[in-house]
């Protein structure tokens, strides 16, 4: 655990970058520092590995005041990824990844094994990449190296300053997924700086929202969405996310899960159905999409009216031949806020809810959300506006 107590930082030019911070960073969690540019995120992070000395207060890691530790040794115990990665251009990938173990004087074999293991961890073949130089890697690959370099000596604490910000959206999301996956195994204490709320919501266990050198709110993402501390937090989260989280509309104890909202009997079909049957079924159920499930109700795919009409002339084809894989599903029990966020991020018109073994249990559609909200409001006090604010 990392504890900030009354920490202040005034730079030499008199600028008070950090005003008075009290913060507990929990062990084994990803804590995301977020806020507008210049609010002091990087400064806060660098205070932890003593790249910056505080001008007031104290920081303790596992109960020990870091001011009493040798800064060079402290830094070797803390993984560090800076923005733009900072790989050493004159060292091979293996050398780069092995930097801290070598500084810690591990023996050569051990370093080599560790490097190969880490490369494997992020899906880079050691034989291919070991002897390359950073300039011979793609941006995403370099970022991966930056991350595993910070993991190399197995530190308990890792600091990451906007590690993915230079990437295109697709690679960024890939790396976020990888980080979350790694973290599930590794359980490190990670301090992650970003200015991207979507990134924070995706990876954070705790979000620390900063402004002008102060902490405005520090809490679980779900709670920040539901109980934003003030207008600054609201505007930072963004209106859309707040609405999909239902803050404005729903009392928290009524916070719905996907199971409350989903359509339980949506139009489904078996894979062996013909195309004409599919059209007929859509017509009868007044839908443009069918979910394809097998006999055990396991979700196989989805078929839209366009997929069917495209190949309608082929009499021997079945829906199994024209269906598309279902790319996004949510497990039963997920909060509606998260499901809606996913739908809005991915521009989904509907979202399947699955139980164990990918068994199909229901479907969230825009219509079902509106109906749910309308029901709540019909029984609530301030009626009419509900539709207007939900259907954005």
């Amino acid at each position: 655990m990392i504890v900030f107590t009354g920490v202040k930082k005034q730079y030499d030019d008199g600028f008070q970058a950090i005003k008075n911070i009290d913060l507990e960073i929990k062990e084994g969690e990803i804590t995301v520092l977020i806020g507008p540019s210049g609010c002091g995120k990087t400064t806060t992070m660098k205070l932890i590995n003593r790249l910056i000395q505080p001008t007031g207060g104290s920081i303790r890691i596992q109960g020990r005041d870091i001011a009493s530790l040798n800064p060079v040794e402290l830094r070797r115990q803390i993984g560090y990824v800076i923005q733009n990665i900072g790989l050493f251009p004159h060292m091979t990938i293996a050398k780069n990844v092995g930097v801290v173990p070598r500084l810690l004087k591990w023996d050569k074999d051990k370093v080599e094994r560790r490097v190969d293991e880490l490369l494997g961890l992020v899906g880079l073949d050691p034989d291919t990449y070991r002897n390359r130089y950073p300039s011979e890697l793609s941006g995403g690959q370099q970022q991966r190296i930056g991350v595993i370099r910070a993991l190399a000596a197995d530190p308990d604490v890792i600091l990451m300053d906007e590690p993915f910000s230079a990437l295109d959206p697709i690679s960024r999301e890939q790396l976020q997924d990888e980080l979350v996956r790694l973290q599930q195994e590794l359980r490190k204490t990670i301090v992650f700086v970003t200015h991207d709320m979507d990134e924070a919501l995706k990876i954070a266990d705790t979000i620390v929202l900063m402004k002008d050198g102060e902490i405005v709110q520090a809490d679980r993402p779900e709670r920040i969405l539901r109980y934003p501390a003030n207008d600054f937090v609201k505007s930072f989260i963004g209106k859309k996310r707040l609405q999909s989280a239902g803050t404005e509309l729903v009392a928290p104890e009524l916070a719905p899960s996907v199971d409350d909202v989903m359509v339980e009997q949506p139009a489904t079909a078996f894979p062996s159905r013909g195309l004409a049957e599919a059209v007929k079924l859509m017509e009868r159920r007044r839908v443009d999409t069918l979910l394809i499930v097998d006999k055990n109700r396991k979700l196989q795919g989805t078929v839209s009216i366009y997929n069917v009409l495209d190949q309608y002339a082929e009499e021997n084809k079945t829906v199994a031949d024209v269906m598309r894989p279902v790319e996004h599903t949510v497990p039963s029990g997920t909060s509606l806020a998260i499901a809606l966020q996913l739908m809005s991020a991915k521009q989904l018109s509907n979202l399947a809810v699955v139980g164990e073994d990918n068994r199909f249990v229901g479907l969230i559609t825009r219509g079902s959300v509106v109906r749910h909200m309308a029901d709540l409001y019909a029984s609530g006090s301030n009626g009419g506006d509900a539709y207007a604010s939900v259907i954005v």
């Binding site: 660098k46 590995n49 790249l51 060079v72 040794e73 402290l74 830094r75 070797r76 560090y80 800076i82 923005q83 733009n84 990665i85 900072g86 790989l87 050493f88 251009p89 004159h90 930097v99 801290v100 500084l103 130089y133 300039s135 011979e136 370099r149 600091l159």
Partner: protein, 226 residues
């Protein structure tokens, strides 16, 4: 043209056969003059450049570059003449003069090389637990190496050409052939001396370039292959 006439070439051939030992001796002296001056220049200017880059005190930088610049701008003949009352004549004052000339280009390139290292890379090194000396030797020096090396190469070529003047204060070298050639009006001597100095400069540059490429290929694969 006179130089290319066959008669001249024949005479030149005979001359080379006769004066071969003299030519060799002059070349040896020349190499020693330039080599020692250059080695001293590297030993002084590279660490000085590193220090200047490491401690960015403005007065130190202004002072060091100022002094090195002054030596650079004194005309070479004048510098040699100025050194005579102080150090007499012979090899030592000649080496001293050449050494003073070598300082500025090596100092400037070393300094520039060290300053050119991306601050983000240095920060990353600091954050991962490199000590100050480790950072200097394992990160900055290898990254600055191509700059330092190109400073040394340029200086080498200059020094070898300026060393032909060293004969004026009795230090010998290839300049001696040229000066005495002018004195006795013997073109072959002048041509032989000048040609040897040119070949020497080209060879030295080639060798240093080879070293630079070998090291650079390890350090900057992309840069070396372009």
């Amino acid at each position: 043209m006179l130089l290319l006439s066959s008669e001249f070439l024949k005479d030149f051939d005979v001359f080379i056969r006769e004066r071969y030992p003299d030519l060799l001796q002059a070349t040896g002296q020349h190499l020693i003059l330039s080599g020692v001056a250059l080695a001293l220049g590297v030993l002084v200017a590279v660490p000085a450049g590193m220090l200047l880059a490491h401690y960015p005190a403005k007065w130190a930088r202004t002072g060091a570059f100022g002094v090195a610049n002054i030596f650079q701008t004194i005309p070479s003949l004048a510098l040699l003449a100025l050194l005579i009352p102080l150090f007499g004549i012979g090899t030592k004052p000649a080496i001293l003069a050449l050494f003073l000339y070598s300082l500025m280009p090596i100092l400037r390139n070393t300094y520039t090389g060290f300053r050119s290292v991306d601050p983000a890379i240095l920060e990353s090194a600091r954050g991962m637990g490199y000590g100050a000396a480790q950072r200097l030797m394992r990160i900055q020096f290898p990254l600055a190496f191509p700059y330092i090396m190109s400073g040394i190469r340029v200086t080498t070529v200059y020094i070898i050409s300026w060393a032909t003047l060293a004969t004026l204060i009795g230090a010998g070298g290839l300049g001696q052939l040229i000066v005495s050639g002018i004195g006795v009006n013997k073109e072959e001597l002048v041509v032989a001396g000048a040609a040897a100095a040119i070949v020497l400069a080209l060879l030295a540059d080639g060798v240093l370039g080879g070293i630079e490429r070998r090291v650079a290929r390890r350090a900057h694969p992309k840069a070396a292959s372009k």
